[in-house]
Each structure stands twice: as structure tokens, then as C-alpha cells.
Symmetry: C2
Subunit: 467 residues, 2 copies
């Protein structure tokens, strides 16, 4: 791939940001993460790696995510009574954070397993009649707590070239919502309406309209100030535009249609739950490529932050989730915030969110930071990624593609950590959202993944050496 | 007004653009326009001017434009059979350009005054049974040819503080449309559907929903890559969001509602026809302020470019409209383009369009130019404006307000002309749109306006001098 002409402008614009004396980290050279030198050398010399990384990136960029259906979770991913999915790497109730517990409690009430959230605590502590499993293990992703129960409706995304599918629940809005760990009667009532009215309505519209091209909408969003993690305003509006006529023509009750349009239109984050599974669909195509050092998932359960890598199968490399640095709602402050939670960092893994901050300078009013920081962040992420996504370009950086395909070895070599824009949940179950901010993964998970990649490299080398 | 802190970033970012060797004109000092020195000195010393300009800007910035109704033109602005409004300063049929003639011919067919566009030529040449009048003379604005006939439906915008109103037709979409001078049967058929179905539907929805705050949507659009002249994509989507539920709940036939949603959603420019009257409503509030050098209208009829100024009443200062420099559709080229046409430069007059290009770098793919040019243009317009609009801010320029309130004396003193983003109509009647591009007013109209301002200044001074 030849270097695009526009990169001259990009570098100079970044230089300009630095000239403004903003706190820009110079990225020309930094020492590698301590203790990674040997593993870096091993992986760098792996003859399999260059082609494996190129294939991982190519596969990922080749995926088109179409919205093809809306189904209850028990149909979409085969979830059965008593089974719950959650965000992040695997975790048990005893280690679960407040917001994850709160969302599970609300989910148990919604499913009729218990009558009150309080009874739900005993249910999950007993553990006999319930089972927890990461969304990622069932071709799904979930924002924040990411709790999915069998009766919740999910978007179904499909790559037409391969038939591969991913799934995500419908977004509830902001504030007191299940995914932030709230479980009040109003939360449950909203979820019931979403199951009884919104889900079936969307199913009818999606089945009768042309498939919504989520990948293409993501491209448009980046021209419209959305970075598709904490800003999904334009995306939500384009979904309304694409499904509106089919919703109206569905023959459903006009009051229900009007209520559905109002609900979606009143929730700027509605599209997040399409952006996330679109990113997962792209990244799943790069899983299981021996020798590739590309990250295919970054995910948090509120306790642990985990990554998965193309060349290391389904293994999770985990460390403690960090508390975001950002802006708080109302009277909330840092003491109220739970550590980082949610599968939504799949957007950054695919080059959106924090990686695309330059295209969404207005995001700094939501997550904190400054406009020059936003421009500098996108540039910095180019130091740890394998390439650019030509379908997702940033106008203000002269249409450069977003930095895409986080390379474990580049992260270890530079010490630059992926930048994530995120919402913050209250650490106490039931509280809901307390803010939004900026966060990075715990540093140690990248050397862990690198060590495993190096071990596999050495194994391949040994297998090639004649006995 | 104190200089906002953010301007440091703005200046440095502009510096960065200059550093990139883009064709940026340094604006520190330029010679005044030839022959304006005496008038500039006179106006500069006018004791009335500072307060008059401050009042003009304040009045303009104080206006809130709400969409309160949708009405046929005969009800909205009292247009009677045989009367037609058009864009720009006053003009007669014999001097009218191709696209204006084409739009008038189509309008005469739509109104049933003639059976064919060809018969319409004779009708307008005769002139006995028709009357032409600028939109601006009836509290209205029209994009491109701007032709309005009595049966066309119009948006009605109102400032709740004063009850002042402005009006604009409904946008037809792109390509072969009346406003670009096309008049084929398909054009007339679309206009009939807009009159029979779309207008009445929108009326029902607007009357039953909360008033749509067009001024606030414009603020949101600037966070979403629209400059509200040639990009109105986010604005159109927000209008759909705001009116969708009321359209559905209106009780109208579901097929008509679905068709209306599809028509609006399929036309990214639909919101232009709300942006324009919102700008006019703001600028009309600044009309008739003795001593103010602020431009309150820039407008073109396809032959002449005219401006009106706060301190000179309803007088037009005109010169020949220029051909835009830009990008052409299909096989069209510069020889096919008509000179600049339309009331849409009211957006630039209010600080949007070319003045807000920095917030819409993707616009360069539609009108030509480069991304650094877009950033530099917004900065350059600060040299000829009285202030900023805090409600309409540009995120990438660290939330600086758009440059607002073109000052005739600053234009003459710097020689910097207002930058306009515009569509290009084919010069032959019936052709339709041929491209989009960048254009400026003819230079001589600003010295003309300045001369009149100086004359009025001298008159005031003489009146103050004891006899």
C-alpha cells in the first residue's frame, strides 16, 4: 500500500497542534515497556507475522455489516432461561462490580426469575440456577454492564460475503438504565416496553426495508462529528431516516410507531448498539490468524480489562480495569465512579471512538480534554496501529482513514496505550451513569499478550528446525 | 465584548494552515479598495456608527427562529394569481438569465396560467398578466432562481419575542428541479405532489408538534459537519427527528406519511429552506439602523448580485453576478454554468455557509478547494465581520463562534470579499443543476454601498452643524 498524499497534511496539522504547546506527547521514539525487549525481538523476527498482520487487517477491512434482523436473545444467540451474558472477559458474581451486579439483578427481575432485585442477589450468590457468560463468547457485544437476558431483543448484523453474524441489545437511553447498573421499576418498565413494542416494531421495519448498511453509516458519521462511541447522534438520525418509512408502512398502530420514533430520536446513543456489533463483525473476521499481533477485542467487565489477539485464539489477557478521567453528571465525583466497564471498547479496537476523536472535537464537551488533544489523539493512535481504514475517513485530517488494527508489538515497543472514550457507571449497584471520560487499558496486559505471541513464535520456529 | 480565550487556539491553528504552504492570503494589512479612502475616513469618524453596528449585531444575534406553520404562498405572503417572487434584487424578464426564466416558465405551468413552458415565454415577454418581485421584498428568501408562485407551500418562521416572520418554499431535492431552472413534466409533477400532499402533511405536523427551533438546530448542525448552505444533511435529519412522531400521529394516510419521510430523508438539502429564512429573520431585525455599516442581505438573481445594508434602508447596491469556481456534475463544464444565482447567500450574510466552512471540511468534496482552505476561510472572514455568534460555534476552532455581521467598511478597507459556497445552475433554461462551487460578490458593490453610507454620514454631520 502506498502512503497516501494526504499524510503530509496530517503530519503538519499534528505539528501545528504541538506548536500550540498543548500537552502532546512526542512519539518519535520512546523506550519499550520494561521487560518486553526479548519478546519484541522474537516477534519482530517471526517470518509469519508480516503476512499474518496484513491478512488480519485486510479481512477486517473487508467486512460489510448489514442490519438484517431484530430478534429476542433466546432466538438470536440461543440464550436460555437462567442464562445471562455480560460485558468483558469471564467473571463470577463474587468478583463482579456494583454496576454489573445491578444489571444482573434487574435482568433477573425482567425475566421473572425473582420478584425483586434484592431476591436476585441471593439467586446469583447461590449460583445454582443462573449462568454468566461473556457476550463475546456468543458473537455479541454489550455496552457498559452488557447484561443480556433471554427475553431482551437484539440487533442482528450480517456480513453478506460470509454470512457471519454479530448481535447487540437495543439501547435504553442515558441516565438510570440497566446497562449502567440501575434496576428501579422505571428501568424494568422501559425494558418491558422495548421487548413488547419496540423490538417487534423494529423487526417488522428491518425485515421490510432494504438492509441498513451500518458500515456505510459509520463512514458518514465520521463526516458528521460522531466518533461512534460517545457520540452517535448523526448515526441515530440516519437510522431513523432509513427505517422511518418502513416503520410507518408496517401497518403497526400509529401511536406505537410515533412512540418508537420519539424514543429513538430522543436517544442520541441509540446507534451505539449498532456501531458496536458492526465493529465486532469486522474484528471477528480477523480471529485465529497464527502469527498476527493484531488486537481483535478490548473489553471490560467492571473489574477486569481484557484483550484478545488474532494470533492467540480465544485467550483473554487481563488486568485491573481503571477509573476513567472525565466529566461527572450533577453532584457525582471520582469517588462515585466504578472502574471501566463494557464491550464498547470494541469501537476503539476497530479504529473508532478514541481513535477517531479528531473527527469529533465536540466530544471533549462530554468526555473532557481539549480540542487539540482530540486531534493529537488520533495521530498518536497511528503509532500503534497496522494501517488506516479508507472507508472511515476524517475530513479535518484531509480525509485520512482512521488508525486501525492495534498491534500488540507496537504498543509494547512505544508504551503508547490505546485511548478509549467511555461512559462511567456508578460503583454502587442501582445508581446508573455518573459521568463520561477518557481511559486506557492497564499497561500490563500488552506484555502478557506479547509473551504469549513470542511463545507461539518460538514454538513455530522449533517446529521448523530439523530434529 | 472581551476577546474570548479560545481565539489563541484559533489563531495558532490558522497559522498552522499557513505553515502548510496552502494558498492562504495574509491578512495583517492590505491596501483598501481603490477610491474608497475618503469614504472610509468619513464613515470611520461617524460618531453614530459604533453604537449602530453594536445594535445591529445584537439585534441579529437576539433572534430565535421557530418553525410555526406551513402555508401556501398566497396565504403566507399574499401572492396573487400572476404574481411571482424570485431571488436577488429586482429584475425584469428581458434581463433575466436562463435558470430564472426556466423557473418562471415552470411556475406559470404549475399555476395553470399556460399549458406549456413555451407558451410561458410569450406570457412573460408580454408582461401584461404577470408581475415579478424579489422574495426579499415580501419577507421571504428563495434558493437559486427562488421562484415562488401563489400555490407553492412555504415554511413560516417566527421570532417569538417580536412576532416577526419570514418564509421560504419547500426544497425539491437536487438535479432537475425548478429552482435550478428545470421545468420538465417530472419537475412539475413533483411540485404538484409537494403542493397536494407534502405541504398539507407538514402543516398538520408543524401545527401539532412543539415549534421546531431552527436557530438551535443550526447550532447543532455546526457540530455535525454542516455549514448550512451546501451541507444541510444533519439539519435535515434533525427536522425528520423533530417532526416524525407528529407526522405519524397526524392521522394522515400511512402511505403518504411514509412517502413524505422518504422524500425528506432522501434530500440532504431539505433543511436549506429552513436555514435561509432563519438567517433572514435574524438579519431583518438589523434593518433600518441609521449609521450601521452591517450587510443585512446578499442576494443574486442570476444577472445581478445585490447587497442591502442596515444603515441604507431597502436600497440595493448591485453589480454583475460572477460564475462560481467549483466542481461540475457529469459532463458539464464552466461553459455550461450560469452566473451566481439565489437568495441563499443570506446564510453567509448571517455567518454560515462559506463563513462556517471550517466546521464542514467535507464540503470541499462538493464545492472544491482543500481542507486547509476551509479552515483559513473562516478565519479570513473574521477580518470583515463585526463579531462572533456564540450560539453557532465551530468545535475544531475550539468552539469559536462563526464570524458574523459583514461590515461594508471592513470589506472596503481590507479588500477581502465575503466567501460564498453555492450551487451552480445551467445557463440554459430547463437544464437544471450543473455543479457547485465557491464564489464572491462583485467587488464594486461594496464601494457603492460605502459611498452611500458616507453620503448619509455627511448629511447627519451637516444636520448637527449649527447654521
Amino acid at each position: 500500500m502506498t502512503e497516501p498524499v494526504v499524510s503530509v497534511g496530517v503530519d503538519l496539522l499534528a505539528q501545528a497542534v504541538a506548536d500550540q504547546a498543548a500537552p502532546v506527547t512526542r512519539v518519535d521514539w520512546r523506550p519499550p515497556m520494561p521487560g518486553t525487549e526479548d519478546d519484541l525481538a522474537t516477534v519482530a523476527l517471526d517470518p509469519v507475522r508480516p503476512e499474518a498482520d496484513a491478512r488480519a487487517l485486510e479481512r477486517m477491512l473487508g467486512v460489510q455489516a448489514l442490519l438484517v434482523d431484530v430478534l429476542p436473545a433466546h432466538e438470536a444467540v440461543g440464550l436460555e432461561r437462567g442464562e445471562f451474558m455480560h460485558a468483558g472477559p469471564p467473571i463470577s458474581w463474587d468478583r463482579a462490580s456494583g454496576p454489573l451486579r445491578g444489571a444482573l439483578m434487574g435482568g433477573a427481575v425482567l425475566e421473572g426469575l425473582v420478584d425483586t432485585p434484592e431476591e436476585a442477589e441471593a439467586l446469583f450468590e447461590g449460583g445454582l440456577h443462573v449462568r454468566l457468560e461473556p457476550c463475546h463468547h456468543r458473537r455479541a457485544v454489550g455496552p457498559m454492564a452488557g447484561v443480556v437476558s433471554p427475553g431482551m431483543w437484539m440487533f442482528v448484523l450480517e456480513d453478506p460475503a460470509t454470512g457471519a453474524r454479530t448481535h447487540c441489545t437495543l439501547n435504553e437511553g442515558l441516565g438510570k438504565v440497566l446497562r449502567y447498573g440501575a434496576y428501579s421499576p422505571a428501568v424494568i418498565e422501559r425494558l418491558r416496553w422495548m421487548g413488547d413494542v419496540l423490538g417487534p416494531l423494529l423487526q417488522r421495519a428491518v425485515r421490510s426495508a432494504d438492509p441498513v448498511d451500518v458500515t456505510a453509516i459509520l463512514g458518514q458519521m465520521l463526516q458528521m462529528g460522531d466518533e461512534a462511541h460517545n457520540r452517535n447522534r448523526a448515526g441515530t438520525l440516519m437510522l431513523l431516516r432509513d427505517l422511518g418509512p418502513a416503520l410507518v408502512a408496517s401497518g403497526a398502530d400509529a401511536r406505537d410507531v410515533a412512540e418508537a420514533l420519539g424514543f429513538v430520536g430522543g436517544n442520541d446513543h441509540f446507534f451505539l448498539n449498532l456501531a458496536m456489533p458492526a465493529c465486532k463483525l469486522a474484528l471477528d473476521a480477523a480471529r485465529g490468524i497464527d502469527g498476527s499481533t493484531m488486537v481483535v477485542a478490548m473489553s471490560r467487565n467492571g473489574t477486569d480489562f481484557g484483550i484478545q489477539v488474532a494470533g492467540t485464539g480465544d485467550e483473554w489477557f487481563t488486568g485491573p480495569a481503571q477509573v476513567a478521567d472525565g466529566l461527572y453528571l450533577g453532584d457525582f465525583g471520582p469517588d462515585d465512579a466504578n472502574p471501566d466497564i463494557g464491550d464498547s471498547a470494541i469501537t476503539e479496537t476497530a479504529g473508532l471512538g478514541g481513535f477517531a476523536m479528531a473527527t469529533a472535537p465536540a466530544i471533549v464537551r462530554f468526555v473532557g480534554g481539549s480540542v487539540p488533544d482530540a486531534l493529537a489523539t488520533t495521530r498518536r493512535m497511528r503509532e500503534i496501529t497496522l494501517g488506516e481504514n479508507p472507508r472511515w475517513s476524517v475530513p479535518v485530517l484531509e480525509f485520512a482513514g482512521v488508525p486501525t488494527g492495534i498491534d500488540v508489538s507496537k504498543v509494547c515497543r512505544t508504551g503508547i496505550l490505546p485511548q478509549i472514550n467511555t461512559g462511567m457507571a456508578g460503583k454502587v449497584a442501582g445508581v446508573g451513569q455518573v459521568g463520561a471520560g477518557l481511559v486506557t487499558p492497564p499497561e500490563e496486559i500488552f506484555p502478557k499478550a506479547l509473551a504469549r505471541l513470542a511463545e507461539l513464535t518460538r514454538g513455530r520456529a522449533a517446529a521448523r528446525t530439523p530434529a
